[in-house]
């Protein structure tokens, strides 16, 4: 089984959605003309990552995050030699340089920024390496993907894609009922919260857009973000489905005859 393609066809936001919903373990490798990047996941949460163009050791991350200055950076690098991030982290904590929480936060900020940079890639091959071994000596974090996914859709510029993804605003939204779908941890802006407050199978997106005073594109963007984050899904507006009686295209027969006809076809196909 493979999971590969090009970001033009299947965007990083969509990939994060997939990894999030399937709670995947493994490494997402990305590669464009100039750069290679990798993001490691554990149970659908971002755990580590990096780019081939830059150093991604703990010292480098702390330096880039302005947590240590250039002189410190050089000294630590010299002294730490072949130490792993975990060992170095422990050393820094023991030396009272900074605490564990600060280290984790700095790594998280680095990774979030890394993903934001990767959202800008319009082109590039990706493949997912299932159940790849965890990198030795790295400090692993746990970053929920919902907020990253929302960030990714906010940046979306391809409006055609939005029209494809959300073909009509006559469709309504409802909250997903799968476990883990929660708006509680989402960082949303005011308009997004307003949309959330109107979500109900009775309200078409058109109605919500009118109530919140959003134009078509803004409405589609927010809806797409929430769908990708795995929080809501599209449904037929209430009332639409009530009339649903399937039409199986066998005229002038009663249900018993229809059933027997289908069974005849099944038997025949089995015998092919």
């Amino acid at each position: 089984m493979a999971l590969k393609g090009n970001l033009r066809d299947f965007s990083l936001t969509q990939l994060l959605n997939l990894i999030h919903l399937a709670r995947k373990n493994g490494i997402l490798h990305l590669e464009n003309a100039t750069t290679k990047a990798w993001l490691g996941f554990r149970e659908g949460k971002l755990a580590y990552g990096g780019l081939n163009l830059e150093e991604n050791s703990l010292v480098a991350i702390l330096y880039r995050g302005k947590r240590i200055n250039a002189a410190h950076y050089r000294t630590i690098k010299e002294k730490s030699g072949s130490m792993s991030d975990k060992e170095l982290g422990l050393l820094l904590v023991n030396a009272g340089y900074l605490n564990q929480q600060e280290i984790v936060q700095n790594i998280q900020v680095y990774l979030v920024r890394l993903v934001h940079r990767l959202f800008l890639w319009e082109d590039g091959n990706f493949h997912f390496e299932n159940d790849a071994p965890l990198p030795k000596g790295k400090i692993l974090v746990r970053i929920n993907l919902e907020n990253l996914i929302m960030d990714g859709t906010r940046q979306l510029r391809e409006l055609d894609q939005l029209k494809d993804e959300i073909p009509s605003l006559d469709i309504a939204l409802k909250f997903c009922d799968h476990p883990g779908a929660s708006v509680r941890n989402l960082r949303l802006n005011q308009e997004e919260w307003k949309v959330i407050s109107f979500i109900n199978p009775k309200n078409s997106m058109k109605k919500i857009a009118e109530a919140v005073k959003l134009n078509d594109i803004e409405m589609r963007k927010i809806a797409f973000g929430l769908i990708q984050a795995g929080v809501v899904e599209m449904v037929k507006p209430d009332g639409y489905s009530a009339k649903r009686t399937i039409n199986i295209g066998i005229p002038h027969t009663n249900p018993a005859e229809q059933t027997s006809l289908i069974k005849r076809i099944i038997q025949r196909i089995r015998s092919l």
């Binding site: 089984m1 494809d164 993804e165 009509s168 199986i248 066998i250 059933t259 196909i269």
Partner: protein, 182 residues
């Protein structure tokens, strides 16, 4: 003589013609033409109008299989096609994420408006680049009730499974209909 039909649809190059050809007892009357535009040059021919296959069920009943052309959306043909239709198969090339969006659009349209049973065939599962079923389910945004079945369109047993799953789905929906009516 009674005739019924099923429709096989899906994006360009998904394997619709192959699927029908595998089980049809007549040569598939497809209206193929050579591909001229370079963008679509992944194979020699494409279906322009419709594929057309036949399975004789018994003395009084014939099943026709119709394949839609893959290159353009077939909205304009939908009404003609759906007349007298038992249900349909949506085929997806499991190796080509660039076609998932179109597959999703087709599915979304059906989900919202067409009151007809359907199954989704994850085709070309024999190829190394094929995406796994559970990944496809998320990528195509199919909820757990929709049947998504691995498929190899030039393998007869595989095509039979898809058709039987669809017929099974039709039986289930008929039951729901009957319960509702009583």
């Amino acid at each position: 003589m009674q005739t019924v039909k099923m429709v096989v649809t899906g994006p360009f190059n998904a394997g619709k013609t192959a699927f029908i050809r595998t089980v049809s007892e007549i040569n598939v009357v497809s209206t193929e033409r050579k591909i001229s535009q370079p963008a679509e040059q992944v194979k020699e021919t494409t279906t322009v109008a419709m594929d057309f296959g036949r399975i004789t069920i018994d003395q009084d009943l014939v099943l026709y299989l119709f394949g839609t052309p893959g290159q353009r959306r077939f909205d304009f043909m939908w009404e003609i096609l759906s007349e007298g239709m038992l249900g349909f198969v949506v085929m997806v090339d499991s190796c080509k994420p660039e076609t998932f969006r179109e597959a999703r659009m087709i599915l979304e349209t059906f989900r919202a408006y067409a009151p007809t049973p359907y199954v989704v065939a994850a085709n070309k599962q024999d190829l190394e680049d094929a995406w796994g079923i559970e990944d496809l389910r998320i990528a195509l945004r199919l909820d757990s009730q929709v049947k998504l079945i691995p498929c190899v369109a030039n393998d007869k047993e595989s095509v039979k499974i898809i058709l039987i799953e669809l017929l099974d789905q039709i039986l289930r929906e008929l039951e729901v209909n009957t319960e509702r009516a009583s």
